[in-house]
């Protein structure tokens, strides 16, 4: 298949058309009911544009060239018969045109309407959830930034920056182990050891395995 530049999608479209080409003239042009000569012409023009090899000019078509040409010739044949009153009459006697799709009943319309509404609702709910998910993700990002800022400030002794970061963290994420731990460290630096211990203990409640928290409590109590 190296001698052919067509994509897989283009090839499968051609193969689908070849299946249609096995059918009646009506199938080939996608006509139903009682189309006028102008309808037949329009359908033929549309199909021609799809399968005329000129559409792929400059591309290597390999075996698909003759296959496309055969599809075009097939559409032309269908057109020639269906556009001519006499020939069409004879052909339709043997191969009647497919019925056009039936008009839906009121019940079907109502059912379809209900289904459509439910689909809309589900879509709306999904969209809300997606938005919320996005929000929490953004918050997490912000919180992580604040945590690292607060840590850096505490390490360097910039208590003012640390305080502001811890305040924001406390406001937005009060029940977080990291918030409580950082708040404890700030209070400890400010000399408020009792309050600091309280925070450390609260942090330990949330995560007993955290080594930093445990170390801080030991530092303040001398044991535990």
């Amino acid at each position: 298949m190296d001698d052919c530049d067509l994509s897989a999608a283009e090839r499968s479209a051609i193969e689908d058309a070849e299946k249609l080409a096995q059918g009646t003239h009506w199938d080939v042009l996608g006509l139903v009911g009682n189309p006028t000569a102008a309808d037949v012409k329009r359908a033929y023009f549309a199909v021609s544009k799809r399968y005329h090899p000129d559409r792929y000019f400059g591309k290597k078509l390999g075996v698909y060239r003759t296959r496309l040409e055969a599809l075009f010739v097939r559409a032309k044949k269908a057109h020639d018969v269906l556009v001519d009153d006499e020939q069409r009459k004879q052909y339709a006697a043997k191969f009647p045109a497919p019925e056009p799709p039936r008009e839906p009943t009121p019940e079907e319309i109502a059912r379809e309407k209900r289904l459509e509404e439910r689909r809309k609702q589900i879509a709306a709910e999904r969209s809300v959830k997606r938005k919320e998910g996005l929000k929490s993700e953004l918050l997490g990002l912000k919180a992580r930034k604040l945590v690292s800022n607060a840590r850096a400030a505490l390490d360097s002794g910039d208590l003012e920056t640390a305080r502001s970061a811890v305040e924001t963290l406390t406001a937005e994420n009060p029940d977080d182990k990291e918030t409580l731990f950082l708040s404890g460290r700030l209070l400890e630096k400010q000399g408020k050891r009792a309050l600091a211990l309280e925070r450390y203990r609260a942090a330990r409640e949330l995560d007993a395995t955290d080594a930093d928290v445990t170390k801080a409590i030991q530092r303040l109590t001398g044991r535990e």
């Binding site: 023009f45 000129d54 000019f57 003759t66 032309k76």
Partner: protein, 609 residues
């Protein structure tokens, strides 16, 4: 993406265009003209001239100035149209080695595609200068009525010029594309294309971006040069009467007449009369000089050329008739080609179609513009616009009895293909010769031979038992290929018709003689037997009643006539049966049947013995 230019390779003038985002743009030559004369010359010093420069020096250098090469391209030396042109032109033509036409230019002979390639090369150069880049691909237009040999020769001219001719399209189709492209039209249009050398008419349906040619007709030897020729002939005749000197014998005088005739014709499109002044046109003796002075009126020109105009209208009628189209369905007429500037032509077209011709297309540039649009559509792989053209002539093979069996009829939309089963005409015929012909005559010799090949190694069998499938295919780009297959063995031969095989009509005539390796339309043996049996039965019956009938009606005037007719019918039928010719058997049946029923009536009415 490579740019594809559009070239209108005309008989008298050529034009090149490129499609841009804003629409097609005609590219002007160095002199600033949008069209370039299709004239090639070689000066005394051996310099080659093309276009305006070549045309201008034509008077002083008539023998080495070639014009109208398009009228000779892809044609055989023997055809009457070529012979007529050869007798009229000032340059030297001769027969080429492949039964083609060669012209003498400078110090050597050139094949016609070589001459056309020089014009194409000039158009390529103009495009390259205007666009500032190398151009290697082109869409070239030809008259719709050109046959395959003429198209292939035009393609060859492109190749010699270093141009890949990606598509040959018909001039009227190109004009329709330029007229309707991007306008969202839903309309039936007629293109009336009267050029320098050829006349074409095409009828198209335009809708949803598809340009579908429904019918085409034309005459490749009807054009502006014929109008010039009429004026030349008139001037020559007048001069002859006055001075008893034939100006045609003087190449230089003839060239001056030709230029003056063309100029007068053009003048008469704008004014009602013009003066033709050719001083010193002839000097019969030393120191003696004769001048030619004539006034030509518009009415006189119409009188001289009216039959040419009427011929174009007859061709229009043919185009409608052959495709079974109604004149009234045509909603627009587009005039293409320089000749459509002639007021009488515009008037006659309006009379015939019953509608005023569309304004707004430039008759000299619209074809190149359309070719450029097609080039762009192809380059882009357009999914919105599509040209659906037709094959202009019947295409088929020669069958036994010197008949032309058509596989693809004229005006069939391409791409297309057609298969027919043929059989052998002689016992133990082990090969069949497939001669591919194109043309509209039932007589093969009057058509164009596109190529031939032999399918051999057929098994030895009685005539009529071998089945050979012959398939004709015309691809989207107009290339004809023919395949023959022995149904029993699957053995196949294929040719792609590329160029004239160079056979002479006399050779073709020899080939249509009897006992050649021909084929005939295949029919199932049972069918043939039935026909044969039926005719034999009819013959037995009529011969049975003949004595009785002749006894009754012989001697009357009516009777003698009827008996004579019956005898002829019987003779023919016997010959057909003896020759085992299926078609002849079928044909012979009717007359015998009629004679028999007449005789039966006679015997019942008159009682008989």
């Amino acid at each position: 993406m490579n740019k594809i230019i559009g070239i209108d390779l005309g008989t008298t003038n050529s034009c090149v265009a490129i499609a841009e985002r804003t629409g097609p743009r005609v590219l002007a030559n160095r002199q600033g003209h949008n069209t370039t004369p299709s004239v090639i010359a070689v000066t005394e010093t051996g310099k080659r001239l093309i276009g305006q420069l070549a045309k201008r020096q034509g008077i002083t250098n008539p023998k080495n100035t070639i014009h109208g090469a398009k009228r000779l391209i892809g044609r055989r030396w023997e055809v009457p149209e070529v012979q007529r042109m050869v007798s009229l032109v000032s340059f030297v033509c001769m027969e080429g080695p492949h039964d083609d036409v060669r012209v003498h230019l400078g110090d050597r002979a050139y094949a016609i595609p070589e001459i056309s390639s020089m014009v194409l090369q000039e158009m390529k150069l103009i495009a390259e200068q205007q666009l500032g880049e190398t151009i290697s691909q082109a869409v070239v237009t030809v008259p719709a009525y050109f046959n395959d040999n003429q198209r292939q020769a035009t393609k060859a001219a492109g190749a010699i010029a270093g141009l890949d001719v990606v598509r040959i399209i018909n001039e009227p189709t190109a004009a329709a594309l330029a007229y309707g492209y991007g306008k969202g039209l839903e309309q039936r249009v007629a293109i009336y294309d009267f050029g320098g050398g050829t006349f074409d008419v095409s009828i198209l349906n335009i809708g949803q971006g598809v340009f579908e040619v429904l019918s085409t007709a034309g005459d490749t030897f009807l054009g502006g040069e014929d109008f010039d020729e009429r004026i030349i002939e008139w001037l020559r005749g007048e001069f002859m009467r006055e001075h008893n000197i034939d100006l045609r014998q003087d190449k230089m005088a003839l060239q001056r007449l030709r230029d003056a005739a063309e100029k007068a014709k053009i003048d008469l499109s704008a004014q009602t009369e013009t003066d033709i002044n050719l001083p010193f046109i002839s000097s019969p003796a030393k120191g003696q000089a004769l001048h030619l002075q004539r006034r030509l009126t518009r009415d006189k020109l119409v009188e001289l050329t009216n039959d040419l105009i009427e011929r174009s209208i007859t061709i229009c009628e043919k185009a409608f008739k052959s495709a079974d189209l109604k004149l009234a369905d045509t909603k627009a007429v587009i005039l293409v080609g320089g000749m459509t500037r002639m007021p009488r032509i515009q008037q006659r077209v309006q009379e015939y179609f019953g509608i005023a011709p569309s304004k707004g297309v430039h008759p000299d540039e619209v074809v190149a513009a359309g070719a450029a649009i097609q080039g762009q559509l192809l380059a882009e792989g357009s999914q919105e616009t599509l040209l659906l053209d037709v094959t202009p002539h019947n295409l088929g093979i020669v069958v036994a009895g010197g008949l032309f069996d058509v596989l693809i009829a004229k005006d069939t939309t391409i791409p297309t293909s057609s298969t027919k089963v043929f059989t052998t005409v002689r016992d133990n015929q082990t090969q069949v010769r497939i001669m591919v012909m194109q043309g509209d005559s039932a007589v093969p010799q009057q058509n164009e031979l596109l190529g031939e090949f032999v399918l051999d190694q057929l098994p030895s069998k009685p005539r009529g038992e071998i089945q050979v499938d012959v398939t004709f295919t015309i691809s989207a780009d107009g290339i004809v290929s023919v395949a023959a297959k022995d149904v029993a063995t699957g053995r196949a031969q294929t040719i792609q018709v590329t160029a004239s095989s160079g056979l002479t009509p006399s050779e073709i005539a020899d080939m249509t003689a009897e006992n050649q390796d021909y084929v005939t339309a295949f029919s199932k043996p049972t069918e043939k037997d039935a026909e044969q049996v039926e005719l034999e039965a009819l013959l037995a019956e009529i011969e049975g009643v003949m004595p009785k009938v002749s006894a009754v009606i012989a001697g009357t005037e009516f009777g003698t006539e009827a008996l004579k007719k019956a005898a002829t019918a019987i003779e023919r039928a016997k010959a057909a049966l003896a020759g085992n010719q299926r078609d002849a058997i079928a044909l012979a049946k009717g007359p015998v049947q009629r004679a028999l029923s007449l005789f039966k009536t006679v015997t019942t009415k008159l009682g008989g013995p």
